[in-house]
Every structure is written in structure tokens, then in C-alpha cells.
Amino acid sequence: MDMSVINSYIPLYRDALLLTLRIGWQGVFWAFIIGLGCTLIRQLRIPVLRGVVTVYVELLRNTPLLVQLFFLYFALPKIGIRISAEVCGSLGLGLLGGAYMAETFRSGLDNIAPVQEESALSLGMSRYQTLRYVIFPQAASASMAGILANVIFLLKETSVFSVISLMDLMFTAKDLIGMYAKTIECLTLLVMFYLIMLLPVSLLGTVLERRLRFAEFGN
């Protein structure tokens, strides 16, 4: 392995990492917001919108992100909707993640005993108050492990961004291999940079899961 090659490539990988992180976390942010919105619609049982949420969740969960990005980036401009590659990346990730988050929140909610809702109602709380003060806080802690798994999944999925010509880590690695054929160096850097991006989140997930499992409220 040629250290001087590695050293000269590092700045390129660093820029790629920053781009990946920026779009990745934007995507995670949108995923969270969309997931919450879907959950609220489902829980408040808003007609019509509920149906839309179901279709959205099923569509996005049953197709690959790669195909979704192709559609957003190459197909939509043909009907006059033009989005920049960067927006396309974070939007695509957000839409995919929103569907996954919605399902995670739902399973968190399903784990809360019905009597929790009933006792809140019997105290005279409205449906909204019941959700806000009683159900959501419990669901959030029950979903924490799932939420972090989704975050890791979404950050991993950023690896397909190169298809819409975003200069992310994969793009950089592929580009450099193509130009200078320093395959080993390029792949080593690729692995290292993905570790830099994902290892902290994964560790955080392990720590949080442990704490949630062994130290629930009141320990």
C-alpha cells in the first residue's frame, strides 16, 4: 500500500464524507418529520390522508432507494419537475426513511397497553392530549432502538447517491480507481471513511439500547 497515495487522497475523501454526511443527516431529519406526520395522521385517524399514508408507506418500503432516486432525478424532469441532485438525495432519503420511521413508530405505539390510552381518556384528556402527554413519550422510548437502526440504515443507503452524480464516498472511490488504478488504497480509504461515519452512530445505538433496556423510567 502506498502511503503517499493515501495521504494525497484523504482531502478528496474528506470532502466526499462531508457531502455524504450533510445530505445523509438532512435525509434523516426529513425522515423523522415525515414519519411523525404519518404517525399523527394515523393516530388521529384523519380520513383520506390515512389512505394516502398507507399507500406512501407501502410504495416506499417495497422499492429500492436506487430506483426511487432514478425516478426522482431522471423521470420527474420529463414532466417539468426539476430538482437539484443534492435536494434529490436528501428528499429521496427522507421519503424512504419517512416510511420506515412511520412503521417503527407504529410498532412502538402497538406495544403500549390500551389501558394507558383509556386511563388518559377517563381523566378527561382529549385524543390529542392523550397522544401528546401519555402515548408519544412512551412510544418514543420504546422505539429508540428501531429509530437508531433506521438512522444507520439510511446513512448506509447514501452509498447509492453516486448514480445521481453526487460526489459522495462511493463516487470518489470509483472515480479515483478509474483514473489511477490504485484500487487497494482507494478501497481501504472507502472502508475507513464509512467506519468514521457509521461507527459512532452504531456505538450510540448499542449504549442507548442497553440503557433503555436495563434502566427504564425510575431506575
Binding site: 383509556e118 386511563s119 381518556l121 377517563s122 381523566l123 401519555v134 412512551q138 422510548s141 423510567f217 425510575g218
Partner: protein, 247 residues
Amino acid sequence: MENEVLRIEHLHKEFEGNVILKDLNLTVRRGEVIVVIGPSGCGKSTFLRCINALEDIQGGQILLDGHPVRRDAKDVTQMRQKIGMVFQSYDLFPHKTILHNITLAPEKVQKRPRAEAEKEAMELLERVGLADRAGDYPRQLSGGQKQRVAIVRALCMHPEILLLDEITAALDPEMVHEVLEVVVSLARLGSTMLIVTHEMAFARAIADRVLFLDGGEIVEESSDPKAFFTKPQTPRAQAFLKTFDYE
């Protein structure tokens, strides 16, 4: 009737084609303690749940202070504030401390000032002997302690009537007493209560009136609990009470 709190007229409840409650009629006066007994599946829990509008009803009406209680009505949350309920399973909110379990609804629903709600909550906790646990979380309490808190939580809303749904059924036997004692003291203070229970000795001691429910209808009603428990009039009540004897 002047001091009538709750009036139930021709209450009819079905679920998926099965009749669960048929033509129930009941009037509860202020300060009265009514105990509902009957075999499992007789509809007594559903009866309480209907009164708190947790279930849809298919016929009849429920009037609290002359005002209808309906699940689909706009004012259902206002009506529920006047009806306290305690469930069989420990239903405290696990993510809130004991004190906040009690003050959540007074603060958010009744918009009472926090200091005032907390002061009352502490007084009530004092009464049930749990003031020192105010800062704890539910899972640090025993089942009996949790049920006492659940009662306090309902009381702090100043309900017109309190519904207790088999509140000792999930408890270890040695904890039953501490919970029932609280209920007895409430009765002495003049609380209006509708109680579903399997504790016959308790029912006999506390009831002003006993309802025996079987197959979704009131089979026997007695305003003399002593007489009812020693000499029930109907064969079905006799058979039911016999199941508690081991001779």
C-alpha cells in the same frame, strides 16, 4: 330525584352481534356506594366502561347530572372529567413520577395552576400514606401502592362519581387490604362510587346497594346488602354466591 347523580335508562350494548348488556336501568344518588357483582363475562366491566364512554352503546342513555354521556359527543372529555375511573391493571403512566401522574390531568385538562394541583395531590397522597413516594416512578411501587395512586389520580379531578373496575383483582392477596381500606375511607367521606368487585366481604361491608348482574342484565338488586349476601332471592344469585363457599 333531587340528589341524583347518575341515571341510566334502558342501556343496551352489543358487540359483533352479541348482546352484552340489555335494558339496564339504574339511578345513583349522591354519596351512594353501589357494588356490582356477578360471574366473569356477565358484562359488569363493560357496564362501567359504557358509563365512562369508553364503549359505544347501541341503545338507551346515560345521564350525569341530567346531561347525556356519549362517546361521540363533542363534550365527552368534559363529561369524563366528572367521572373518575380506576382500572384493574395498574394503569399509571410509567414515564411520569407519582406526583406528575396525579397532576397531569388537573394541569393540562382543567388548566389549574401547577402549585395548586401539586398541593392537593400531596394532601391526597398523605391521606393514602404515600406522600413520601411522590418523586418515585410507578415501577418502583408495589401493585397495591400503584392502585392507591391510581385512586388519588382519579380523585384529584374532583369527579362526581368514581368507577372502580375490579381494582384488586390483579393484586397479591396481602395487598388487597391496603387498597380496600382507602375505598372504605372514601365511602365514609361521602364519595359516590360504583364498584365492580369479587371481594364479597368487602362488598358486603361497603355497599349501600348491591346489583347482581348475569348474562348482561340485572338479575337481582338489593338495598340491604346483609340480607342479599345471606339470603339471595333469585336462584342465579344463590348459585353464584355458593361458588364462594368451600364446604
